[in-house]
Each structure stands twice: as structure tokens, then as C-alpha cells.
């Protein structure tokens, strides 16, 4: 499977090795890892809780991998996203793209994380020293995701 939604931490090195060894034509592997930051708007983050929509969420992630594979020349792609209670420094999400050439790997990796932010049904509740709140989709994330829409391309 090219995607996973899991409570457990992921092993970046193992995920990278699996993708690296899949094809001998692979010339470039680009990865993105998202981590829990310890500060948010100048408040100390104690933990976050990540919830997802089971079924739909996995389908959307698989769809993102499929779209990336149709749009760029890839030899492999992988998305792993964690759910549950996470603390500052913890890994949240991993996106990997392997390709013969780096331009494809960079675009595919960035597309997948940008699209995940606006299309994958995850919810993040952040607890700081000032209390808890459900975080909203950032405007900057909506703008970054919109860059990949075919009608917006120049």
C-alpha cells in the first residue's frame, strides 16, 4: 500500500529504504516530514490531538498518490499520516516521491502535501498553556493548494 494512517510513529529510514530499492531507474527521491512545533502564535504547545474520518481519509490519500502518479513521471510515492495524541518534536506526516528526475519528484511531493492539507479529512486540536482549540485550515495552505489546480496554471 502506498498510504497509511496510523497511531504509531513511522520509521523514516525504513520508508526511504523501501522506496529507494524498488526501482533501479530511480534518480531522485524527495521527502517531506511534518513535525509538531513547540510554539504556535507565541504560545507553548503541550500536545495536539489528531482525528480522522476513517475510510474517506484513506481514500483521499490514495487518490492524491494516484493523481501525482498520473501527473508526473514517478517510480513510487508514499504518504503516512499519524493520528492520536502527539507532542512537540513528534513526526506527524511523511510524504515521499521517487522519480527518474528530480523535477518530477519535487513537484509530486509538494503537490501531495499541499493537497493533503486542504482535501484529507484530518482535524487537529491543539492544547497550549492557554487552553485547547481546533485549528482551522490556513489561508496560506488554501493558496498553496490552489497553485496545483489545472485552471490556475499559466
Amino acid at each position: 500500500m502506498s498510504i497509511a494512517v496510523q497511531h504509531d510513529d513511522f520509521d523514516f529510514a525504513a520508508e526511504y529504504a523501501a522506496l529507494r530499492n524498488r526501482h533501479r531507474e530511480t534518480g531522485a527521491i524527495v521527502s517531506f516530514v511534518g513535525l509538531v512545533r513547540d510554539f504556535s502564535d507565541a504560545q507553548t504547545v503541550q500536545h495536539i490531538e489528531l482525528e480522522h474520518y476513517p475510510g474517506m481519509c484513506e481514500n483521499v490519500l490514495a487518490q492524491l498518490v494516484e493523481e501525482a502518479t498520473e501527473r508526473w513521471q514517478l517510480l513510487g510515492a508514499r504518504i503516512v499520516h499519524r493520528i492520536g495524541k502527539l507532542h512537540p518534536g513528534d513526526q506527524i506526516v511523511l510524504v515521499l516521491a521517487a522519480a527518474p528526475h528530480r523535477a518530477d519528484a519535487f513537484s509530486a511531493c509538494e503537490f501531495m502535501i499541499d493537497a493533503l492539507k486542504t482535501r484529507a479529512p484530518f482535524w487537529k486540536k491543539q492544547t497550549t498553556t492557554h487552553g485547547s482549540e481546533w485549528l482551522a485550515t490556513k489561508t496560506s495552505d488554501q493558496q498553496r493548494a490552489a497553485r496545483w489546480n489545472p485552471e490556475d496554471r499559466t
Binding site: 480522522h52 492539507k117 486540536k125
Partner: protein, 84 residues
């Protein structure tokens, strides 16, 4: 008509509900109308289901609030998504 309602994120927490099977009036056509109808359950419901606070999925696809729905649909109501 009977539909399944799922709640995620803020409304699930604030309204204390994750899932329900509910009989809704056949006169309701869009998700917007459904949200307004659910809002009649009380002040907390009206507050949490305010237009700017929720998004919808119909049968596991993100849709706009003016989308029609039908009997046996799985409708999810949730605060703006924020993964990654």
C-alpha cells in the same frame, strides 16, 4: 428520509456526538437546509453548525453546502480540516 450523520472535529466534541441515524423531513434538499434544521435542536447546535464553522462530506466526498442529499446518504459535518 433516513440518513446517517457523522460528526468530526469541533462539532463532534462540542455537541458530544460522533454518529447518529436520523429521520429528516423530506422537504430538506441541501446540506445547508439540513444544517439549519439540525440547528433547531438548541443553542449549542445552532452555534456549532453556523455556516462559517462547518464543512460537509456527502458519501465520503467533500462537497459545498448547497449540495443536495438523498435518503440513505452518509453525511459528515465537521470543522475545517487541518491535517498535515
Amino acid at each position: 428520509m433516513k440518513i446517517t450523520l457523522l460528526y468530526f472535529g469541533r462539532p463532534a466534541e462540542k455537541l458530544g456526538i460522533h454518529q447518529e441515524s436520523v429521520e429528516v423531513p423530506d422537504t430538506l434538499q441541501t446540506l445547508h437546509e439540513l444544517a439549519a434544521w439540525l440547528g433547531q435542536r438548541g443553542e449549542a447546535w445552532a452555534h456549532e453548525l453556523t455556516e462559517s464553522r462547518v464543512q460537509f462530506a456527502r458519501n465520503q466526498t467533500l462537497v459545498a453546502r448547497n449540495t443536495p442529499f438523498a435518503a440513505a446518504d452518509e453525511i459528515a459535518v465537521f470543522s475545517p480540516i487541518s491535517g498535515g
